[in-house]
C-alpha cells in the first residue's frame, strides 16, 4: 500500500482541523494544561510570550527544547513552536523533536534578512505571518501550509491585525474580480508568485487557512477578527498577561466560536478583570515593530 507523508493535503489539512479555534501561547506545562482545559485547539510553546520578549530586548531565539518537550508531554492537543525567520536548523531541530507545527515567526529575531525557509522541504507543516496578499502568496509559494496576520505582537493592540486582515481580504476580492489578463501585472506589483495568484483567483479563496494574530487582547477582539474573515485566532500575550487566565482563556474560545452572538460576547466580557495593558502603535519606534521583520 502506498503511504505518503508530509503531503500538501496532510499539512494544510492539519490547519483546516484547527478552524474556528484558538491557539494559545504558553511557556510551561501548567499554562498548557490551562489552555487545553479552556478548549484551545493547539498551544504554541515558547520561552517568553511576545510582551515579555519585547520588554527583555536582545536576541530572541527558538525556545529551549526542554520547555517544548515539557509542553508536548503535558497535553494531547497539537503543539506548535517558533523558529527564527530563515533559521533552517532551528526548524529542523523542532521537526526532529516532533512538534506538530512550526511558526517561522517575526516575534523572534530573524536569522536571515533575505531568505525565508524553503518550507516545501519539510515533513512538518509551517505557519507564517503576512500583512498583505503579496506576502501571503510568497509564503504559500515557499510551502507555508497556514497563514496568520502579523499584527503587532505583544502590544495587546488589535489595530495592526485588523489592517492586515482587511488588506488581504480586500486584495483577494480585487483579484477575483480581475480579468485574467491583469493578473501578471498585479503579481508584479505585489511581488507575488503568479501561479499562486491564479490558483486563488480560480478558487475564490486562499489555498490555506488564515488565522488572526498579533494583538488579540479581549474576547471581543477575537470575535472581531473572525467577523473580518479570520479562520481562527492566535492569542499570544493576551491570556497569561491578563488577571484571570483561566476565565479569560475560556471566554476567548467561546467568543471565537460564537463570534456573531453579541449578547453572549457581552456576557463573556463581564468581570474578566484587567486585560493586558497594551501599547499604542505610534509610540513604538520603527525598529521595535516586529511586523517589519521578514518581507
Amino acid at each position: 500500500m502506498m503511504t505518503n507523508l508530509g503531503t500538501d493535503r496532510v499539512k494544510r489539512g492539519m490547519a483546516e482541523m484547527q478552524k474556528g479555534g484558538v491557539i494559545m501561547d504558553v511557556v510551561n506545562a501548567e499554562q498548557a494544561k490551562i489552555a487545553e482545559e479552556a478548549g484551545a485547539v493547539a498551544v504554541m510553546a515558547l520561552e517568553r510570550v511576545p510582551a515579555d520578549i519585547r520588554a527583555a530586548g536582545g536576541v530572541a531565539r527558538m525556545a529551549d527544547p526542554t520547555i517544548v518537550e515539557e509542553v508536548m508531554n503535558a497535553v494531547s492537543i497539537p503543539v506548535m513552536a517558533k523558529a527564527r525567520i530563515g533559521h533552517i536548523v532551528e526548524a529542523r531541530v523542532l521537526e526532529a523533536m516532533g512538534v506538530d507545527y512550526i511558526d517561522e515567526s517575526e516575534v523572534l529575531t530573524p536569522a536571515d534578512e533575505v531568505y525565508h525557509i524553503n518550507k516545501r522541504e519539510y515533513t512538518v507543516p509551517f505557519v507564517c505571518g503576512c500583512r498583505d496578499l503579496g506576502e501571503a502568496a510568497r509564503r504559500i509559494g515557499e510551502g507555508s501550509s497556514m497563514l496568520r496576520t502579523k499584527g503587532e505582537p505583544g502590544t495587546g493592540n488589535i489595530v495592526e491585525a485588523v489592517r492586515h486582515m482587511r488588506e488581504v481580504q480586500s486584495q483577494i476580492r480585487k483579484l477575483i474580480g480581475m480579468s485574467e489578463d491583469e493578473v501578471m501585472t498585479f503579481a508584479k506589483n505585489l511581488g507575488a508568485p503568479y501561479d499562486v495568484l491564479l490558483d486563488i483567483k480560480k478558487n475564490g479563496r486562499l489555498p490555506v487557512v488564515n488565522f488572526a494574530a498579533g494583538g488579540v487582547a479581549t474576547p471581543a477582539d477575537a470575535a472581531l477578527m473572525m467577523q473580518l474573515g479570520a479562520d481562527g485566532v492566535f492569542v499570544g500575550s493576551g491570556i497569561f498577561k491578563s488577571d484571570n487566565p483561566e476565565k479569560f482563556a475560556k471566554a476567548v474560545v467561546e467568543a471565537t466560536t460564537h463570534y456573531e452572538d453579541y449578547e453572549l460576547i457581552g456576557k463573556l466580557s463581564k468581570g474578566l478583570g484587567n486585560a493586558m495593558k497594551g501599547i499604542e502603535i505610534s509610540t513604538l519606534a520603527p525598529e521595535n515593530r516586529m511586523q517589519e521583520r521578514g518581507w
Partner: protein, 199 residues
Amino acid sequence: MTKTKIGILGLQGAVREHLQSVIASGAEGVVIKQKEQLDEIDGLILPGGESTTMRRLIDKYDFFDALVAFGKKGKPIFGTCAGLILLAKNIVGSDSAHLQLMDIKVERNAFGRQIASFEADLNVKDVGEGFNAVFIRAPYVVEASDDVDVLATYNGKIVAARQNHYLCSAFHPELTDDHRMASYFVKMVEESKSALATQ
C-alpha cells in the same frame, strides 16, 4: 419528499468542507451551532477538529443530551476523525468517553504526531476502491463489538466502520474531491428518513 437535510456540527473544525461534500452529494447542508437546530435535520456529521475542544463546547452549550437523543431516535450520525472519537464507547487511556453511541474502543493520535500524518489509498467496503484517505493525527479503532461492520482497514487497523445508523472514519473524506463517502452517508440518511416516516 422534501430534500434530505444533513447538519454539520459547527462548533469547531473542518465544517465548510463537509458542507461542500454534502451539497455535492445532492443533499441540503446546514451548519449546526444551536442544539434546537437538531430538530430540523435528518442526519448529522461530527467533523474533524480537536475532540477535546469540541467536547468542551458541547458541554458548554448543553449539546450533550440533545446529541445522544438524536442518535437514539435512530437518526444517522457520521463522525470523522475527532467525530469518531466523540462517537466511541471507550477511549484508550481515558476513564471517560464522550457520546458513547458506537460500540468501539478507539485510540487517539494512534498513528503518532503530525509528522506521521499521511495519505493512502484504501478500499472501503460498500463505498468503493482506491479511496484517497487523508489521515491527520488520526485515531483508529482498537476493538469493535460483533455487530460493528468494519468498512476499511489500514495495516490491519480499523479505520472506517458502521454500526446500524452510525458511521465513522479515522480519515478525512471531506478533504478531497472524492465524495463517495459523503454520498454513502447521504444514502444512509435517505433510507432512515423513509423508515422513520413509516413508523
